[in-house]
Amino acid sequence: MKALLGLIILFPAFGALFLVLFGRLLSKKLISWLSPSLVGLSFIASLISFFTLKSGTLLYLFPWLSVGNLQVDFALLWDPLSAVMALTVSGVAFLIHIYSVGYMGEDPGFARYFAYLNLFTFSMLLLVLSPNLPMMFVGWEGVGLCSYLLIGFWFEKETAANAGKKAFIVNRVGDFGFLLGIFLLFTILKDLNFSYINSHAQVLSPAMATAVALLLFLGATGKSAQIPLYIWLPDAMEGPTPVSALIHAATMVTAGVYMVSRLFPVYARSGFALDLVAWVGIITAFFAATIALVQNDIKKVLAYSTISQIGYMFAGVGVGAVSAGMFHLFTHAFFKSLLFLAAGSVIHALGTQDMRKMGGLRKEMPVTFWVFLIAALAISGIPGFSGFFSKDEILAQAFAKNRAIWAIGVITAGLTAFYMFRLIFMTFYGKPKGWRHAHESPPVMTVPMIILAFFSVVSGWIFAAFHHFLEGLGYVHLRELAPSAEHILVAVSVSLALIGIGVAWWVYVRRERGFNFGIIYRVLAGKYYVDEFYEVLFVTPYTQGSRAINRYFDKGIIDGAVEGSGKITMEGGRLLSLLQTGLIKDYGLWMAAGVILALTLAIRGLL
């Protein structure tokens, strides 16, 4: 039965390959059946694996690297962590594939879109099922590549092309840390399998564990859009909305949380790294939520919300509660992808993303409105909905570990409720602003949303079972709180959420006017000017430095056509004139200088 694991990744891989090779030749109808159903089969394979396979099952495929100490195989690992991820990824991906059939129905790049989407699903499943770091890195880069391709899917738009490029570059910074972390770990432990690393985490000195953990965490902040590398995610909203739902909300961006959970013993070995994860998470959660307060683009609000919610997950893992963080990852996948799909439904109907041009859509789009409302209640942490269970567990665990983290988290919960209901009130309430006709989306789009809405409610109810299941990993424990304390914490966070909703209602329904706090508003709307800061700090020096070095050394560079044509006519093939350009003399001088410098220094060192 182990072969099932192979099937999980094989179905989407086959879909991607088939569509890349023959996509141009296939009819839309065939593609819209083939691509989603392959992912569906992958989901079914995951489900069967869930019920039949024992934890720790390893499907060995073929040897990959074997050089000296390094022994890395291509294999697939099924344990509680990968099971949760594989089920979430394939399930949500299946629903979003179906939704995309409706959403992308008119797009000329239909085949290309589904090829990328299948490739993404394959890479993501590879990432979560890999039993060692190098394979995980392959999946990690694979999902990244698909993400850039899909962000820049409408590359005719310059903003889309630039957003793809930005995501690519920012993630390379993260990869830098990730790769160095892998190298360092390999140098110390001489093995890169998760089982070995986790069982030998105690061998690492705390300082080494800290170094490894921080380097890997840099990779996580890139992929999961946390401070300091979150800046690419809001721009990534240039991609098609189902892509935002799948990649930039439910699955890929949570890979960082998964990675930290996967290597939790290494983080735990270094107390500092774990604290840092918690702090980066909670500060990102707060920081992104404040920016979300003032965005007017419906997808930008959701993007900052995603950054903020992932911050919660890191905070959960960082305070030592792996299962709480992972549970929030699990519930978030449903309600956040639902929020995006519902937003996509609105965008599909109106053709705009600006909430100031929406309003009053409740009547025209009832299904979209209701599922949106359910998802918003879930993310706001209203009791009974899934987000309530997962978020409150993180807050409770934070309270037990560090009150400051809890306090920031609970304030952020209030902000979350506010911006989410601000979005709802601006979009669905009040009078129509600037649109005439709107229509509900077709069933191919609404049915996946309804299914997700169902899970946005009920997925929270299984917390006890979920936690028990993850305990199978061996390093997952939750702190116990007194019931009375827990009740008080719940009361505080729920009342803050209700206050947030109330304020949003008062500002946007009652007064029907936005608010404007002057300088604070401008700073928030300007996203704290972090993009500009990075531009000055990193991008400009690189381009300017390149230009300066070129001007001095690379004289052959032709800076514009005029100079180039002039050069050719002037030289006209006369060989001797080349000697007079001085270039050869320069080059020779450099070579001689290099040798002489080396000789003198080496011989001086010798004597």
Partner: protein, 450 residues
Amino acid sequence: MGLIPLAILVGFAVLAIIFDLFLGRWWAKLFSYLGVALATGAEVLVWSHRGKFLSDLLLQDPVGIFSAALILIFTFMVFLTADGYDLKAGIREGELYILLALSTAGALVMVTTRHLLVAFLGMEILSVANYALAGLRRDSLSKEASVKYALLGVFASSFFVLGMAFYYRAGGNLYIDSRVAANPSPLALGAGLLLVSALMFKASLFPFHFWTPDVYQGSPSPVTGYFSVVTKIAAFVLLLRLSDFVIRPEFRWFLAASAVLSMIYANFVALKQTDIKRLMAYSSISHAGYMALALLLGKGGGWVLLFYLAVYGFMNLGAFAVISSMAERNSLEDYRGLSRLNPPLAAFLAFFLISLAGFPPTAGFLGKFLLFSEAGGAGYWALVVVAVLATLVSVYYYLRVVLYMFMKEGQEGGFYFPTSILSMFISLFFVLELGIFPYTLLAFLKVFVG
């Protein structure tokens, strides 16, 4: 026995010259192809007769046979690439193939000798043919490339000759495997520095790389591909054989500094290039920088160096197969909208650039991964950090080309297959094969090269 591949190659090249004179260029091409193909076969057969030949001057050891086979395969791919190219550029086909075959013979000598004088002969055979190859096109840029390459090449050759003189004085012979490197005298050190510097010139390492962009830009595109791969392999294999010098403590920092500067300098300068062959020149310099890390590991780094050279050869020749089919329209502007004009070409180039940038699952990733983890394991942490950073920065300029091809508007065009497509497919296959199933090759290299 060990001489047979070389004899076949040179013999067929001579036949090609004669037939080219009397019966036309088609024959020159045929004999060159045959010569390289048969020599490859012969090189494989030599495997079971490993050892020293020709009064112990030639050495057919695993390193030599493996790299010779690589060189021959890559030359064959350059032939395939040149096939469609030479018709467009008005180059006399015969000369191109014959010179390539002769240059390859020089490279074979360089990698399968244990004597410095023979190595020098090989280097000169290679170089003289290369100078002529660089100037084959009938425009000023090509002539300029040829002259620059030749004049600066003379510098390198003179370093090498002087190095040999010192070597002889210090050790009393010119055998590469005699223990001169262990000799503490300044003379031996000077010998090593001069020899290594000359080879660093051929390998395009800082500060001996200055010729690279000009020569790459001016030479015919398939020839540029050839320079970037075959010349580099020959130089690096000889450097590997001299690596006892490299890892001497007084010496190590020189190569380390050169590696670091090659990586940083090349990746910085490449960003502002507007000519794809200049850009590839800087890419080639930066890859030389990465490979220099393997040299610092001494003989023990041989396997990873050879693996990287193989990977680099396939991905770089793949890229040059695409560049060659652009018929010397080398400005990045000419690549604007290529994805519309000719989707397969754009897809191939994007793939090879992604591999050069080091993305999994391509072999480019694996090569870097193994190289950097070995260097890290040997304690060169600062170098690894720089190398990973350099890789990170390099993505920026490789990506620029991809963006030009895919993300700028261009007109719709025909869907034609260039003749170099075969070379592209071979590269594609091996870049994936070595990325996903490298096990056999790695095991082979680990066992025989160590």
